[in-house]
Symmetry: C2
Subunit: 337 residues, 2 copies
DNA sequence: TTGAAAGCGCTAACAG
DNA sequence: CTGTTAGCGCTTTCAA
């Protein structure tokens, strides 16, 4: 039994021209809705295009002198991480109105892979790049930018080069978390963190130190555990912290994955430990976990807007870093009646 | 203060050829690592390419007779939904090894927007399409497929056309959920569902009916509430269900968003209602929510593999639907000591 | 091992 | 209002 509808060739603009008896340029005009085409011609062309199933070849179209594709590269550690997924969503909502699509790629927070992805996307001539970079060295990105691919850094601002960035107020956020715990009477406050080579993580740890010292707690580093990159590692770190002598009575967790791992560990151990997490997460309200929240979709949207500004040159020449404010969302654990 | 590193033009292959004193074709050979180039020439070309910051123009490259780009279109309702995000992740892991990238786009479950996206991606000459379609009418997709863009349906198999698909065993999953509840002594079992125009949702509802009737519960539709598309709507539906006379003692929720909304409502009302959800979700273990689970990343990976098979023609001619098995993950609510 | 010529599918620039 | 010419940046013949 053979498939009768087997792949015809996709028709080209020239074939539409041939069928409708006009020149290719005229077909082009009709397809792109340009003016100065008679209605008759237009409808004849449209009919032919429809009959043949014509779809303009976007690659050929974009291959105009120096033209770039209407695709934006979006590089993060992992698209499946809800934080990055929401950034993508926010960016998409802004970009779609301008006809751009997102080409998403995950680096697994691996520096080499990230560089490969940048090179790959640049070869595809993306119109711009939104990136949550895991790399400390951005000379490659600067070079690509100098050759005309605008870049906006999300979440992690580059330390070694100038650049546009949209970041979170990490220090302020963590400080409000610590202050909240101190006000509630906690002194032994622990911190569980993700990869400390990431700048955001370092900022959060610094914010922690600063707030602890400001509260008169100088041995703050007793209860610090960093470099947990997944939920399981975070759980293990929490178990470790809680099994020592004089365990912390409260924990600050520095991102959503860490928070979830910590909540799980505390729950499994059945300990009364207060957790305040950076990033809001699903069901934190039900679990009564206080968090440092901020608008993730908006953050993605801001990055996208900045990038669009660069693409069409309407952004001011100087690079700028937008800081998204955080706010503490205080929650209580429901006590049994 | 002026930016001194302002956008030079990105060099073309011809410029590399000029600088290294060879023909464009030779540069092309070197760049693509073809054989039959002397080592001397190769290194000279490479040096010139590096110096100029050359990056092959992928659009021009792909614009060979009928060639397609090495991009795969990925259309779902919302990239920020963890379910879709994990499908994307699974697909990405398979596709990256073959040099493909994902172009992700969200339809918001809107039929018109989905069609626009399909048209757009086809214009970009994606090598294939992975889609969780919200549409009942797939004649457009069939047409595009006939013109050479392979399509694999994820999660929702098309009812009106033949096609490759990777779906979940919806009926079986829901039936195991109901059986679990019945075995635990529940009779008044409710169901809270998402948009009933989606086929997967209908299948889950049918599975519910079937299992309820099999358990001798014929007035199963008393406690059915469908068409809740977000967490808030799901919460409202649950509140409604629980406020009536003879409220259900257990609820089946038909996807992750509904589950979270239901958990929240039950928690807010402080009612002892058992929830069994379709789709596993973060912290379900901590909350003691039993779920119908399955491997989401694998599902995305399977879809990607099927698509690759179509792209290089190694897949058998006949369309096929893979069904991903579900398994019940039974969890207990931790009782206070 | 290298190069010259032609062309992928479309559109800009210029005529008519 | 419509058509002609040329060319985007690369790769494919086919020769040398």
């Amino acid at each position: 039994m053979t498939d009768t509808t087997r792949s015809r060739q996709r028709p080209t603009l020239d074939q539409v021209a041939a069928l409708s008896g006009v020149s290719p340029k005229t077909v082009s005009r009709v397809i792109n809705g340009e003016r100065y085409v008679s209605e008759q011609t237009a409808s004849r062309v449209l009919a032919a295009a429809k009959e043949l199933g014509f779809r303009r070849n976007g690659m050929a179209r974009d291959l105009q002198a120096g033209a770039r594709s209407s695709v934006i590269g979006f590089i993060t550690g992992d698209v499946a991480n809800p934080f990055y997924a929401r950034l993508a969503r926010g960016a998409e909502l802004v970009l779609r109105r301008r006809g751009y699509q997102l080409l998403t790629a995950s680096s697994d927070e691996d520096v080499d892979r990230e560089r490969e992805l940048v090179a790959d996307l640049v070869e595809r001539r993306v119109a711009g790049l939104l990136i949550a970079s895991a790399d400390d060295d951005h000379t490659l990105l600067r070079r690509e930018r100098d050759f005309g691919t605008p870049v906006v850094f999300m979440d992690r601002a580059p330390a070694d080069i100038d650049g546009d960035a949209v970041v979170i107020d990490n220090r302020g956020g963590i400080e409000s978390a610590v202050q909240h715990l101190v006000a509630a009477g906690h002194r032994r406050i622990g911190l569980v963190g993700d990869l400390s080579r990431l700048r955001t993580q370092r900022e959060r740890i610094e914010g922690f130190e600063h707030a602890m010292v400001a509260a008169g707690i100088t041995d703050w580093d007793r209860w610090v555990r960093v470099d947990s990159h997944d939920q399981a590692a975070a759980s293990a770190a929490v178990r470790d912290l809680l099994s020592g002598e004089e365990p912390p009575t409260a924990l600050v967790t520095t991102n959503n994955r860490i928070s979830v791992g910590a909540v799980r560990a505390v729950h499994d151990l059945d300990r009364a430990v207060t957790i305040v997490g950076f990033d809001d997460f699903d069901l934190a309200d039900v679990l009564g976990v206080t968090v440092v929240g901020y608008d993730q979709e908006r953050m993605g949207g801001l990055a996208a807007e900045r990038l669009l500004g660069r693409i069409d040159g309407t952004a001011p020449a100087a690079f700028a870093t937008d800081s998204v404010p955080t706010h503490l969302i205080v929650r209580m654990r429901k006590t049994a009646p």
